[in-house]
Symmetry: C2
Subunit: 169 residues, 2 copies
Amino acid sequence: MNTLEAINKRRSIRKFTGKALTQQQIETLLRAAMLAPTARNAQEWDFVVVRDRATLDKLMAVHPYAHMLSTADCAIIVCGNTQREHAPGYWPGDCGAATQNILLAATDMGIGSVWLGVYPTQERMDAVGQVIALPAHVKPFNIIALGLPDEKKEEVDRFDPAKVHYEKW
Amino acid sequence: MNTLEAINKRRSIRKFTGKALTQQQIETLLRAAMLAPTARNAQEWDFVVVRDRATLDKLMAVHPYAHMLSTADCAIIVCGNTQREHAPGYWPGDCGAATQNILLAATDMGIGSVWLGVYPTQERMDAVGQVIALPAHVKPFNIIALGLPDEKKEEVDRFDPAKVHYEKW
């Protein structure tokens, strides 16, 4: 799929068939994530791949908007590793870029995805971190629910010229 | 260009020919940015497009690593608008995703780009905000330098299996 087409077609998919992704598909998504840029090329991320149904259910129980994990095949939890950062506080932006690579690669491959926010809500960070046993220096940024899509969404046009400013505000 | 190919080919380009991008190319980049997901669909971003040489020089003067603006045709400053956010603190991750859409769309279109970090370094945020007259509720996230590339970079493989964890940390 063409890049601009994937950017246009990417939508938050919340219903999945429950069918399994292949290990190769998941690795392609992780490779895409690690090709995103990071501040001073610190690559200060880690990725936790959850496919065990009991763990997916636990994540669903501790996150208020994660019901779509009930039909997802897999979740990738994108994390910022503060032991690897070169300057404090750049990891959330960098994790956002890595996430977008995963979402676009997934769209390209016919895989549905949705980004469930975790950082900076401390309560969610603590709860998610506990479910997947994160050490204190590794911060959960989001949960990406993944699976084969069981809903179809049309493209949207979100372009708003009022949000574009020329030369200055 | 295929999505996975653009993800692979995107590199930080720091030398530009100085030739002008078209207004249509810039609008395509901004359209791509606004197609990224945001927390609760707040779309809490704004974009300041700078093409005036005097302003580009001012940005270069206040940012320690922005020398590549000297040959860039254009800069897009991605901003988080805290008056439009639904929950505090999600805008940096959302701006990271919007930035990645710009970088990938640029790669697809043969445009070179590099992400210059601004947030969360307060000194840079204040200085950049002053140059482009941002109000206090609008936070500069980064500066994306853009232009036709005057250097060629090979693809890299950053995949690191040690950063992938299965089921838990």
